[in-house]
Symmetry: D2
Subunit: 147 residues, 4 copies
């Protein structure tokens, strides 16, 4: 597996973000993809229907969980150029995410023969404060022809 | 804090599911709430826009993460009758969730003075197979007047 | 892979617990192994040098983490009859573990082609109260001859 | 709560590592403690009885879990100058830890009113390769007089 070029990596990130039907609900945007380091950045433009309570504006924890999942997945996909099903995912919510865009930065901790591990940090785009961190394990097992 | 009646618990579950703006996107439905055991059940009717890949029908991992988050949160809220911010959440994806309704069953492992722990199991409503499990820690700290 | 008999399963559990050098430090004891369900039970006899603070008697969180790791690993090994390296492990500490024996009960949630998931519950042997729960992901990938 | 001096922080780290009875089994050594950033470093000198399999020399996952727990706990204690019970802990094992000393580097992600979050990285002291990472949530709730 050769390392993709920067342009291929960004194209792959855009593809990963555009393709899934659920992303038409969330509408994440590709910001950056570095194929050498496995780093990606994704912006999630704020919408009021992401809220966790009427009137609060704070973003729902489920939206943040989904953003972390898709960013982690994209970080792996940018390096492997293929899908990588999530095995498990852990999310720590550090503070309420105020009404406003979020930026998720993911990078691959480890890319092994059968699994990959990815870290994601979600920051408030307005002030850069970390609102949540996540870590996930992904399957990168290449099935043999008979599987 | 007195234990709510079964009717109060189900009403609280319905309130928890109806209130957040993001739930108008997901549209989870209250099935059961047992205030004595802290068990709740939530149905997530399938929609094609929950998909993780065009044509596959499989539900996106982010949808499942959000369903686990809101069910765990609701299990705590049914017992405490108040909001319980998520501290952290962990999700294990056991198999792809096929196109179809999901049922999430949550129950509170521990309800302490400052934190609660909750387990959630997500099953395929059609055949009862477990597609994912989750475990979360929630803040139930009652702030003092000066906080 | 055929299901081992109950006697083979208990023998495998005893082997798993006796073999590793670090277990000569912890000295876990095999209680039960059910090959059909993937359930195992392990007793950890208390020793004062397991303490987390001089005089408190409470068992150190690291001892509980190690007990969960080895029990989860044993639950998988009893079913697969081979080693299963830990991919990741998550532990929730519910209450301090008082001075006294602990019993860890593990069971396999999922045994797949490449990974297994295991749940473990650690109880105070004296009163059966749960002191910690754990969940882990294990590699059961059978390497091909060239790996 | 004022920030301790560097000397106070290192003294606290040494105290945290020396005090618990279980640490007389593991024998972790204080390397560094930076009170401003919440970073600590701990060395775990290798002993053959830390092994996970006779003859392999690889360090048992339970030893690494305990090292991560005590390092994370110490990182919090250095900043708060008091005990911080572990609420939950998650560990990712990246590769087998070969026979040899390990160094655990911990730092506090967040120090809140009731909880703290800590990240730990465990590296092979010989070559600096990461063998495991961990993340934990700790209770720093100061009980009121009536609790």
């Amino acid at each position: 597996m050769s390392t993709p070029s920067a342009a291929e990596a960004l194209a792959r990130l855009r593809h990963e973000l555009a393709h899934p039907p659920f992303h038409a609900v969330l509408r994440p945007q590709a910001l950056e993809a570095d194929p050498a380091t496995g780093r990606v950045a994704v912006r999630l433009p704020y919408r009021p229907d992401f809220g966790r309570a009427a009137g609060s504006g704070h973003v729902h924890g489920g939206v943040i969980a989904a953003l972390i999942d898709l960013t982690a997945h994209a970080a792996v996909a940018v390096q492997t150029q293929r899908m990588a099903p999530t095995i498990d995912l852990r999310i720590d919510y550090l503070r309420p995410a105020p009404a406003g865009d979020l930026i998720a930065r993911g990078h691959t901790l480890q890319l092994g023969r059968t699994i990959a591990r990815t870290d994601v940090e979600v920051v408030d785009a307005a002030d850069g404060r970390v609102v949540a961190v996540g870590r996930g394990t992904f399957s990168v097992h290449v099935p043999s022809p008979k599987e």
